[in-house]
Amino acid sequence: MPKLIKDSQIVEDNWLIIDADFEGDLPEQEVIVPLAYWTENRDALASRSNVGVWLDSHQEPSAIASDVKSLPVIAINFPKFADGRGYSYARLLRERFNYEGEIRAIGDVLQDQLFYMKRCGFNAFAVRADRDIEQALNGLSDFSNSYQAGCDNPIPQFRRR
């Protein structure tokens, strides 16, 4: 079973990510479906508690704003690690839409992004499969403090002096 960093621990990952071009019936297990699939089958899926949604880097979180209360997982895809849109999306999900469930980074997710991702509200990281997840865990603690407000601490450093 693949591994995941969740809440700073390495855990087994039970969730299956459904491809963007998936058609047909979903398996019964925990699944994370693409936005288009979610939008199309929203009513049918709403009865299941084990369905999450993933957003691609060009899909803004406002698209699922009215669903965030019920979604157990929202994943944000990083097609390339240098595509930074997902950082803003995660912040918006936490700070604007008050989403409290799991926000998971998927795609090109590497050690050196984890600290920033965590500060933007991600709490789960599907580190790229060819990388050592144990080592990647270190990326969460590259810095012990930060100047700006973030999802991990809404009080900026200048108010904490």
Partner: protein, 552 residues
């Protein structure tokens, strides 16, 4: 000058440790070229034509003598004994080894320096007027606001992977703009409203490079406490909507232009409404705390002596230098001195290790141990007593820093070009030298008055050619180096982008071409008219006709 507390120091040390780890992982094959590229760039490390290049941050251009001496040391130990000051008020090492960079960063951290975010697609060093805090007509000292922005933008988690690089500049002078704020991604002009409150006029979407554009004002008055939340709103809109499909269309200027400044402003306003009252709003205490670092030094009351006037009266060379290279200081008896780095034969911006130490000595002896780097690649001693000017001049002259050509035709801004830069289409340093050699008569230069001539080796415009009154751009024609000339650029309050004169020229023609352009100016100018005024009045045609006239 800002001083690190434990907190700042700790962050920089953690960065050194992080980067050392990243470098190790790169050498062990754990990080690919591409992955390391993005990480090393956010640490100022390029790989260039001949060697790597390390760009070190000089926040808003301020350096202490201790820091200068460290730069000198590092250039001796890890480089070829010189450094290069850039148009972004930073400093570059041209010849370090990648494996040495973590040690260099470690040494820099000892003197409160670093290379954080000096390149890469993140918020870069915030720049400002090199005369900040000592010039008479500024609304208020812009440096505390630059420092506030520096802290906020350092390791900003949301904005480390923007579509493209991002530069912010601040100006506080209503009469002059030495920070070129209209050609920055965000330009902040410090203003006061009718109630006497301090705030910002916010320009956005300026920039040079492939598509040069001037920024548009999207807000006339932003209260100072809202600085960071408003910046956050702007950059969040950009991060989500800036183009990522095409590197050349990825800057915020393209987004602002595509949406129109009005629509862009509305998006920012909508975003800002959600965060403006969050704890990220600045407090008076914080603004005052940071201002405390920039309190005026202990100025002496300088007795007015006749000796300074006598020195000026009896020494024409000294008088020239005083006239050209010093500016009036807001404190009576003091002057602002600019050391020019534009001596013919030395690439603009380059300074050797022994000269760095000499400048450090001058700063210690005459200017409270501090210097500033100007965007036109000169060095400023901001607080020199008038009674010391003669000594400073003699020492600077002996070292070659007293060429009294500030803002003259030979005070050229020039990028490293084909001699160093992997992106160059043509060399730029030899062009600067050719023009400096041709125009070596100071009386003639003074007669011409202020003219800005800027040279870039390619359209990335690191040498600001678009905003030179005369701009020179290296272009490539079938593998050969040519140079295109533009006229009418200007970086000040009335900023404008230069227009192309016509077909490009071969390298050896450049001094001739500039001379022809200058001659048209001389023949057409009215009394007191500067080159730019004449150009704006008579337009391009007379210049074009002269330069491209068929030889008889």
């Amino acid at each position: 000058m800002y001083k690190y507390d434990d907190y700042d120091r700790n962050l920089v040390l953690e960065r050194v440790k992080q980067f050392r780890g990243q470098t190790d992982r790169f050498f062990s094959g754990d990080l690919s070229e591409d992955e390391f590229l993005a990480l090393r760039l956010q640490n100022g490390l390029y790989v260039q034509r001949l060697a790597p290049m390390l760009r070190v941050a000089i926040p808003y251009g301020m350096l202490s003598s201790v820091q200068l001496r460290t730069l000198a040391d590092l250039s001796r130990t890890y480089d070829k004994g010189y450094v290069h000051f850039t148009t972004r008020q930073n400093v570059q090492f041209n010849w370090p080894q990648i494996k040495d960079v973590p040690d260099m960063l470690q040494a820099l951290s000892d003197v409160e320096m670093h290379a954080i975010q000096t390149s890469g697609n993140c918020i870069r060093n915030t720049t400002t007027d090199q005369f900040a805090g000592v010039i008479n007509d500024e609304v208020t000292d812009p440096r505390p606001y630059c420092e506030i922005i520096r802290q906020w933008s350092t390791f900003h988690p949301e904005f480390a992977y923007l579509p493209r690089k991002f530069k912010i500049a601040v100006n506080a002078c209503p009469t002059e703009d030495r920070a070129a704020i209209k050609v920055h991604d965000i330009g902040l002009e410090i203003v006061q409203n009718e109630q006497g409150e301090t705030g910002f006029r916010v320009f956005v979407g300026g920039g040079l490079g492939r598509t040069p554009l001037l920024g548009s004002a999207i807000r006339e008055f932003l209260p100072e406490k809202d600085l960071l939340t408003y910046l956050e709103a702007i950059i969040r809109v950009y991060n989500q909507h800036g183009r990522r499909d095409n590197k050349y269309k990825a800057r915020i200027k393209i987004l602002v232009k595509a949406l129109t400044p009005e629509v862009f402003a509305q998006k920012v306003e909508d975003e800002w409404q959600h965060i403006k009252d969050s704890p990220a709003q600045l407090t008076n205490e914080e603004i005052d705390r940071v201002k405390g670092f920039f309190d005026a030094p202990n100025y002496d009351t300088v007795e007015s002596t006749t000796s300074f006037e006598e020195q000026v009266a009896s020494n024409k060379a000294f008088a020239n230098w005083v006239k050209r290279n010093t500016n009036e200081h807001k404190v009576a008896g003091y002057s602002i001195v600019t050391l020019t780095l534009k001596k013919t034969g030395i690439p603009p911006g380059d300074v050797s290790d022994d000269k760095l130490e000499l400048i450090a000595d001058l700063a210690d002896q005459y200017s409270f141990g501090e210097v500033r780097i100007a965007h036109d690649q000169n060095i400023v001693l901001a607080d020199v007593k008038q009674t010391d000017l003669f000594d400073v001049w003699k020492k600077a002259q002996a070292a070659g820093f007293a060429t009294p050509n500030l803002n003259m035709l030979t005070d050229i801004i020039c990028c490293p070009g084909g001699d160093f830069c992997a992106l160059a289409n043509a060399k730029s340093i030899p062009i600067a030298e050719q023009i400096q050699t041709r125009f070596d008569n100071l009386d003639y230069l003074y007669d011409l008055g202020e003219i800005e001539l800027n040279i870039s080796g390619c359209m990335n415009a690191c040498g600001h050619h678009h905003i030179g009154n005369i701009g020179i751009l290296g272009v490539d024609k079938k593998g050969e180096e040519f140079y295109q000339v533009s006229l009418g650029g200007c970086s000040g309050l009335d900023a404008s982008i230069g227009k192309i004169l016509g077909p490009s020229f071969a390298r050896e023609q450049m001094a001739d071409i500039v001379e022809k352009i200058i001659n048209v100016y001389i023949e057409n100018r009215t009394d007191e008219e500067l080159f730019l005024d004449t150009y704006r009045r008579i337009g391009m045609t007379p210049f074009k006709e002269r330069v491209y006239a068929k030889a008889h």
